[in-house]
């Protein structure tokens, strides 16, 4: 694990301290821990961190300040990875987050429920992946998206295994990580992915496959 420079925004002092504790114990450097979106933007511009970790609901209106700040950071600093934490599942946030970055963005983006932070190892692993340019979407959000398109349509033609693979793909896992999770070979995963893309008529050459899969699931 590489040592990341992190700017953290979370309005609840309790959670802010908890997060700082977890991140620092893992060996990361929290260069700033702030309580609102304005301060977040100021510190991001000043510190140019590797990763931004931000809550969605923050003062003054307690709606989606963090999300809007995240979108702005993605647009203005495509090299900074952003991990957004939410207290509840709202798939409506997903496109706002994924579509905010210019196509040239190389940094990763993540959307996790705050509960995941309690699973410290997995949370830190997700953070690493986002810092490494990957996309991470909370499994619960994916579950909801998958649940939506269950009637007829091409999704119904997927095998049970293919659905598992699709869900993990939507969470942002790589083929290697999916293979590990399902205890199969990477070649087998590649075969499933090919099958899924063919059935859903997605572009197999897409280098943003998470976005493509999520967009498909949202019915966009």
């Amino acid at each position: 694990m590489r040592r990341l420079r992190i700017v953290l925004a979370e309005d609840s002092a309790l959670l802010r301290e908890g997060l700082v504790g977890i991140l620092e114990r893992a060996g990361h450097e929290v260069v700033a821990a702030v309580a609102d979106a304005d301060a977040l933007l100021v510190y991001v511009a000043r510190e140019l961190p590797d990763v931004v970790v931000t809550d969605i609901r923050m003062p003054p209106t307690h709606t989606d300040e963090g999300l809007r700040a995240a979108a702005r950071i993605r647009a203005e600093h495509p090299e900074i990875a952003v991990m957004v934490l939410s207290a509840y599942v709202a798939e409506a946030y997903v496109p706002e987050l994924l579509e905010a970055a210019p196509d040239t963005a190389t940094s990763g983006v993540g959307y996790l429920l705050k509960d995941r932070v309690g699973h410290v190892r997995e949370f830190l692993d997700s953070l690493d992946r986002v810092a490494g340019g990957e996309t991470v979407v909370d499994p619960q959000v994916v579950r909801q998206l998958l649940g939506r398109r269950r009637d007829d349509g091409p999704l119904a033609t997927l095998t049970a295994r293919e659905r598992e693979v699709l869900a993990l793909m939507a969470e942002g896992r790589t083929n290697g990580s999916i293979a590990e999770e399902l205890v199969v070979s990477e070649a087998a995963v590649r075969k499933h992915v090919g099958g899924i893309f063919a059935k859903l008529r997605l572009d197999p050459a897409s280098d943003r496959r998470v976005s493509a899969v999520l967009a498909y699931l949202r019915g966009a």
Binding site: L15, A87, E91, D115, G118, F123, Q144
Partner: protein, 417 residues
């Protein structure tokens, strides 16, 4: 014909045009029709009073006497309608059947009772005399050339016997006709003003009371809604944050505690904290969902649909956010309706549609289940409670569910932009 709002305005504005307008005829009809009404009221009132007074010892009489205000109220309905003869827009009030249905439920209106006595004792004799003079004098004068030929003729002490005199009488008759029109007009206007004065205040009060009631009902719904939001915020920002912090602490502890029964217990505690968090989230959703507040109805309804075990297709077309109370009501209508679909309908699929129709937001939830659902307003729970809430917002909730299906839950609520 020129349009003037009432006889008095027409008379004041242009006395000449007044003569040619419909108002003198209206005024005459008003005055003349007062006579039979006055006599009828006199008979009914006198009978009621006498019967009531005689039987008062038997208590029955008191009941009879208590009917007088109702009679006065019914007379008020007739009188308000009759005002149309001298005014284009008479005061609105209860209809005949409404007043009858209200019966003795309404407080006694003494002005109405007073008016009834006035009509039966004072007004109709005056009207009778005035109408008699106002009609006979001009008519007799105008017919003078013929009448004088038939018989010796005398009008108000003036005997008309020569031809020249009879033609003079015609001229005088024309003037008398005009004067009659003015006199009858003034009498009708004065009487109508009196009727309005005595019969209107009660209506104005009723209208005010109804408006007041409606406002306080909307206020109640608003207060209720505000309170829900406050509770939701408290839970969300308070308890929920603490539980999340707890899971973080337990998660960190898992990394430090060595393998063994200690770690097992910490893991168990962690799981329990997460379950508590999940339960709390479900509760918060039932109070006032965050997604609704942050993202509006369409997003929130999608979330409900996603959680539903019965496939639900959603189509909500809205360019802008709805007023908060309507949005919340619509959300809970969908939530309740879909819960019923899952529990009772046996449906295989359901559809939610929402759209704006002029100033109204309409939302339907349709399923292909077995039907037979009813909206039981008595229970005050679920959809019935929402029906009451929509009522207060000036909207409505309807359930159409023939046996064998399909079931349609339809809400409509005003949403002036």
């Amino acid at each position: 014909m020129t349009r003037t709002p009432d006889a008095w305005t027409a008379l004041r504005a242009d006395p000449w045009r007044y003569l040619g307008s419909r108002w003198p005829w209206g005024a005459l009809a008003y005055v003349v029709s007062t006579i039979p009404i006055g006599i009828a009221v006199l008979v009914v009132l006198a009978t009621t009073l006498v019967v009531g007074a005689v039987t008062a010892v038997l208590v029955v009489g008191l009941v009879v006497l208590a009917g007088i205000p109702v009679l006065a109220g019914l007379l008020g309905v007739v009188e308000r309608a009759r005002l149309r003869l001298v005014q284009a827009a008479p005061p609105s009030g209860m209809s005949w059947s409404e007043r009858l249905r209200a019966g003795r439920g309404l407080a006694v209106s003494w002005p109405e009772v007073g008016y009834a006595f006035l009509v039966s004792v004072v007004l109709w004799p005056i009207d009778f005399v005035v109408a008699l003079v106002a009609i006979t004098v001009p008519v007799v004068l105008l017919l003078a050339p013929w009448l004088s030929r038939v018989d010796r003729m005398e009008v108000l002490g003036w005997s008309v016997d020569s031809t020249a005199e009879s033609w003079l009488a015609v001229a005088v008759g024309l003037v008398a006709l005009a004067v009659s029109a003015y006199v009858v007009g003034l009498l009708a206007v004065a009487q109508a003003a009196l009727a309005r004065l005595l019969l209107e205040p009660r209506d104005a009060e009723l209208v005010r009371a109804v408006a007041e009631l409606r406002r306080s009902r909307v206020d109640l719904v608003d207060a209720f809604e505000t309170e829900r939001r406050r509770i939701e915020r408290d839970l969300h920002d308070g308890v929920q944050q603490r539980l999340v912090a707890l899971t973080m602490t337990l998660g960190s502890a898992e990394l430090d505690v060595p393998d063994g029964p200690g770690l097992t217990l910490v893991r168990q505690a962690h799981r329990q904290a997460e379950e508590a968090l999940e339960e709390l989230r479900a509760t918060v959703r039932g109070i006032h969902p965050r997604v609704l507040a942050d993202h509006g109805l369409a997003a929130a309804v999608h979330e409900i649909a996603d959680r539903s075990p019965v496939p639900v297709s959603v189509e909500i077309r809205l360019d802008e956010r709805l007023p908060e109370p309507v949005e919340t009501a619509a959300y809970f209508v969908v939530s309740e309706a879909l819960t019923n679909v899952v529990r009772h309908s046996g449906a295989r699929r359901a559809q939610v549609h929402g759209w704006r129709q002029a100033e109204t937001f309409v939302l339907t939830v349709v399923d292909d289940g077995r039907g037979g659902a009813v909206l039981d307003r008595g229970t005050g729970s679920g959809l019935a409670g929402l029906a009451v809430r929509l009522d207060a917002l000036g909207g409505e909730l309807r359930v159409t569910s023939p046996a064998g299906g399909p079931t349609e839950v339809r809400m409509a609520a005003p949403c002036a932009a």
